[in-house]
């Protein structure tokens, strides 16, 4: 499914563009979560094999011919954990933004001048 890989790359590009150009801190985090979704799409789409089924054994899928009938289970397992970590990291970033707002009273990135050069 090359088209889904391309879709993932496009999402990464849009997310990066948003993170670089938007000034509002919330929008930057939204861009980050768009990048996250894109990366997950790419990883899962690389494990897909045309015409095969999900790696769950039942009456239709015996263990003998599983090698020729299932898609790759490892990308699914990796993305499973990555999604949960993505939520936790997003929550931490949001709490950090709330704290920044409390300290300085602004949500605009250009008001934070300490790191400017």
């Amino acid at each position: 499914m090359t088209i889904i890989t391309i879709l993932g790359f496009l999402l990464i590009i849009i997310g990066l563009w948003g993170m670089l150009t938007r000034k509002h801190l919330f929008r930057m985090i939204l861009g980050f979560s768009i990048i996250d979704t894109g990366i997950h799409l790419i990883i899962v789409s690389l494990g897909y094999i045309k015409g095969r089924t999900a790696p769950i054994f039942d009456s239709d899928l015996s263990t003998f011919d599983a090698v020729h009938k299932i898609v790759d289970p490892i990308p699914s397992a990796l993305v499973l954990t990555a999604i949960v970590i993505g939520l936790a990291v997003t929550a931490l970033m949001l709490v950090y933004v709330v704290q920044m707002k409390r300290q300085k009273g602004s949500l605009d990135i250009s008001d934070y001048e300490e790191l400017k050069w």
Binding site: M1, T2, T5, I6, F9, I12, I13, L16, W17, L20, T21, L46, G47, Y48, I49, K50, A54, P55, I56, F57, D58, T63, A66, V67, I70, D72, P73, I74, S76, A77, L78, L80, T81, I83, V84, I85, L87, A88, V89, A91, L92, V95, Y96, V98, Q99
Partner: protein, 227 residues
């Protein structure tokens, strides 16, 4: 203006990096070596019908341990950042009658569904992460309606620590009694495709589900109580 130019430059650079990758992608036609081994021996060795579950819980169990650790550290960080300023006065809007009765009707069903998802993780799609999230969403409903069932942080902390500790203990039991850390074969494998099968996988996944659920509830209730 110059900033915008730099952003455009970086994005175009990224597109140029991705171009050859996209051009050279060949769709997979056979499984890789590791996946082939998992597909051939996974069901016989571990007795779980869902191959993704056996990869997450046993073959790549250390990854999951690291993931749970990251989640724990993030929760601790959120608690640290939000620790002060509980002024006590909250002028919350009152929950409507529909929300209240809907919550009291739906809450047990949602929790039951979450428990079903993580106890059947080795047979059907789903497992600890999904079940934990479903339980956390039930608690969100509880927070939105005014039903005052204090999600006591002590209980949450105990639940989280106990499930994390038992997770490690089960892993060590696997190291002592079976092949390696987080090996599930120190319990009998049972009949393939039944609920009490696959050795310790249902227990380990339920513990992961409890831990993930408790941590997510912690994150959300910390955010929600911050008035």
């Amino acid at each position: 203006m110059i900033k915008r130019f730099f952003s455009l430059f970086f994005v175009i650079l990224l597109i140029f990096v991705f171009m050859p990758l996209v051009k050279d992608i060949k769709p997979l036609s056979e499984l890789g070596v590791t996946s082939q081994k998992y597909a051939k021996d996974g069901a016989k060795e571990l007795g779980a019908a869902n191959l993704v579950t056996s990869v997450v819980v046993t073959y790549r169990g250390l990854d999951t341990l690291g993931e749970v650790t990251v989640l724990f550290i993030t929760t601790a960080g959120i608690g640290f950042l939000l620790r002060k300023r509980s002024t006590g006065k909250n002028k919350k809007r009152k929950a409507s009658e529909i929300l209240k009765s809907g919550t009291s009707f739906l809450l047990p069903l949602i929790v039951l569904f979450g428990v079903y998802i993580f106890t059947h993780g080795h047979l059907t799609p789903g497992g600890g992460f999904q079940g934990g999230v479903v339980i956390a969403s039930a608690i969100v409903l509880l927070l939105l309606s005014d039903i005052n069932l204090h999600t006591d942080h002590n209980i949450l902390n105990w639940l989280e620590s106990l499930s994390g500790g038992f997770y490690i203990i089960l892993g060590l039991l696997g190291l002592l009694l079976a092949g390696g850390f987080l090996d599930n074969r120190f319990l009998p494998l049972g009949k393939f495709g039944e609920i009490f099968s696959a050795g310790a996988i249902p227990i380990i996944y339920s513990l992961i589900g409890l831990k993930v659920g408790a941590e997510l509830v912690g994150i959300i209730s910390k955010l929600g109580r911050e008035e």
